[in-house]
């Protein structure tokens, strides 16, 4: 090799031109649409096709759009309850699968993770059919009318929590629990004082995962939502059907921000749990 090329080390990939081009191209491919969405939320134009100057008025308009805010409140409420129950159910499932041997354990394990694999559209149709078949009441007062959507969300969120928690439990040293028992703790005390603190990072990561999954779910929600129970993604979809205004962009940007913050926290917590 020539001297000029040898000046960078074998792992200095970023100094090679073609590596840098690939890098930037893939970044653009991934994030250009999102960047445009965010930038055009500040566009001072109703039709939102060409850039006409910076404004925050569409954020204000989105804020004053009652049905949009109602949808947002619905989404947060559903996400809150879905997360709560998913974490509880996911944790119990993880402990059950990790701790006990029982007949038909393998099929059970398989079916628990099924909601992760099943196409969302099938889940959506199945949920709609199910709630219609059992005659789930539709005219309940808020927030009880969100029950159907919340149940649907729990059903696809808790397997994720179970997976995250179980991955952490796989590294648990049983001697910790035995030590607690040996020192006089009852089974419940040992669970509370040793197993639960150990699972905590997994539970938090699972909760954030469940929260974001619920917050931005569209397909399944679309099939289970009634006219009174519009969630934020469904609302955005219906707004887009008329015209893509910067208002939609602004609302989407807020959702993006919430998702981003929660996911980052989840990843950070998981990394920390991996270390100890």
């Amino acid at each position: 090799m020539k001297g000029a090329r040898r000046s960078h080390g074998p792992l200095d990939y970023s100094r090679r031109l073609w590596v840098r081009i690939t890098l930037w191209l893939s970044f653009a491919f991934l994030y250009a649409p999102i960047a445009i969405l965010v930038i055009y939320s500040f566009n001072d134009s109703r039709r939102n096709i060409v850039w006409r100057g910076f404004t925050l008025k569409y954020y204000e308009r989105a804020w004053n759009n009652d049905s949009l805010i109602q949808a947002f409140a619905n989404s947060l409420t559903i996400a809150f309850f879905s997360t709560l129950f998913s974490v509880l159910l996911g944790m119990l499932t993880a402990v059950l699968l990790w701790r006990f041997r029982f007949p038909a354990k393998a099929p059970f394990e398989g079916t628990v993770s099924l909601p992760i694999i099943i196409p969302e559209i099938c889940m959506g149709v199945a949920m709609m059919a199910f709630f219609t078949r059992i005659g789930w009441p539709v005219d309940l007062p808020w927030p009880l009318n969100l029950g159907a959507i919340t149940i649907a969300h729990i059903s696809f969120s808790f397997p994720f929590v179970a997976m995250v928690v179980r991955a952490r439990l796989a590294r648990f040293n049983r001697e910790f629990e035995e030590a607690a028992r040996d020192l006089g703790a009852s089974e419940w005390q040992a669970f509370r004082d040793v197993l639960l603190p150990y699972m905590k990072p997994g539970l938090i990561a699972g909760a954030l995962l469940a929260f974001t999954l619920s917050l931005d779910d569209f397909v399944i929600t679309f099939f289970t939502a009634g006219p009174e129970t519009v969630t934020f993604p469904v609302k955005v979809y219906s707004m887009v059907r008329f015209s893509v205004t910067p208002e939609v962009n602004a609302a989407s940007t807020v959702l993006l921000l919430i998702t981003l913050v929660l996911t980052t926290t989840a990843i950070l917590l998981q990394n920390r749990s991996g270390r100890d």
């Binding site: 910790f176 035995e178 028992r181 009852s186």
Partner: protein, 362 residues
């Protein structure tokens, strides 16, 4: 301290795991109050299972365990008057050192004032008085072990169970901790039961040792008796080094047993019991001497060729072979520098007293 009353009785205890593995077979043991007792054996011999049965983490398939006179059948681990130091120490990583030590007192409802005093005493006992506020992650391996010890001792158990407590430490620290554990046991006067696969550890620390293999307790004896009078081949070979010979019985007459040993020839040994069957013979390498000349009567002597010498500092191990191909190992003390410098080679007489030969019935 009453030296005779058993604090633990293990009565024909067996443990079969699902899948058919017999971890413990018909074990009978009595452990006396205040004793430093060792369960010794190779990995998989059932010693840890037996310890876990005492702690209550395993239920015996058959047989009974009595601790302090009470049958432990159906008694949960948290209700037994024993505490355990785990192989991984299992010091809770999310609690400080003091919280770890206090945990056992806290869950059993001891009042706060008493807890802090006892925690302080326990930490001082293991020389960690200044470390109460530290996190376990900030301690060295030896210190974590001391935390585990303090945490178990603070409960004032009748018996302390230790599962391979020194195996995670490096060789130098292990020796220090051996002495430390013996000193600690002297101080607190609690019965210690230690599980180990290291014969040196067991010999140097324990008052009595139970040797186990394949789920069976083979012999229970003090270190000296175990080494000098092993009851069977496994014990003879597992504890220390030994030369094992197979002897064909050719007759017993008025206290003398005549044997034909493959590779040595005819051997005559004093033996009070009239034996009719073939036996094994065991001689410790340090009981043998190497000589230039055949000694006068009163010794067993066989000529052999020096093949290899392994130097260990205080002693050297000489490996020899008889003309008929029997391998012998003799250890000689390097008690002078001249002895250490001497280059052994050629033919030597391997000599030992008949009474230093152990007869192992098959």
């Amino acid at each position: 301290m009453n030296g005779d009353s058993p604090i633990i009785s293990i009565n024909s205890v067996s443990k079969t795991f699902p899948g058919g593995v017999q971890a413990v077979q018909n074990a009978d043991l009595e452990i006396r109050e205040g004793e430093f007792f060792a369960l010794l054996g190779p990995s998989g011999c059932g010693k840890t299972t037996l310890l876990r049965i005492l702690a209550g983490f395993e239920t015996p398939s058959t047989g009974d365990v009595f601790i302090d006179g009470k049958n432990m059948h159906g008694v949960a681990p948290n209700r037994r008057p024993v505490n355990m130091v785990f192989q991984s120490y299992a010091v809770f990583p999310h609690m400080t050192v003091a919280d770890n030590v206090a945990y056992g007192l806290r869950v059993s409802g001891t009042d706060r004032g008493e807890i802090s005093g006892r925690v302080k005493d326990a930490l001082e006992l293991v020389q960690l008085g200044e470390y109460g506020t530290r996190q376990p992650g900030q301690l060295s391996g030896g210190q974590v072990q001391r935390v585990a010890l303090a945490r178990a001792l603070v409960k004032k158990p009748r018996v302390l169970l230790l599962d391979e407590p020194l195996s995670a430490l490096d060789a130098k620290l292990r020796e220090t901790m051996q002495m430390e554990l013996v000193r600690l046991q002297d101080t607190v006067g609690i019965t210690f039961i230690i599980v180990t696969h290291d014969q040196n550890e067991a010999l140097s620390m324990a008052d009595r040792i139970a040797v186990m293999d394949q789920g069976k307790v083979l012999q229970v004896a003090g270190p000296g008796e175990l080494y000098e009078y092993p009851r069977d081949r496994f014990v003879a070979e597992f504890i220390g080094k030994t030369n094992l010979f197979e002897g064909t019985n050719v007759g017993w007459e008025s206290g003398m047993l005549s044997l034909l040993v493959n590779g040595l020839g005819r051997v005559e040994l004093p033996c009070a019991e009239h034996l009719y069957h073939d036996v094994g013979l065991a001689v410790r390498p340090e009981k043998m001497l190497l000589m230039q000349e055949r000694p006068d009567h009163g010794y067993l002597a066989f000529e052999a060729e020096v093949e290899k010498i392994a130097y260990y500092g205080s002693e050297s191990r000489v490996f020899l072979a008889t003309d008929r191909g029997l391998a012998l190992e003799v250890s000689i003390r390097n008690d002078t520098r001249a002895a250490a410098d001497e280059q052994l080679s050629g033919r030597r007489w391997v000599v030992w007293r008949p009474e230093d030969t152990l007869i192992l019935p098959d």
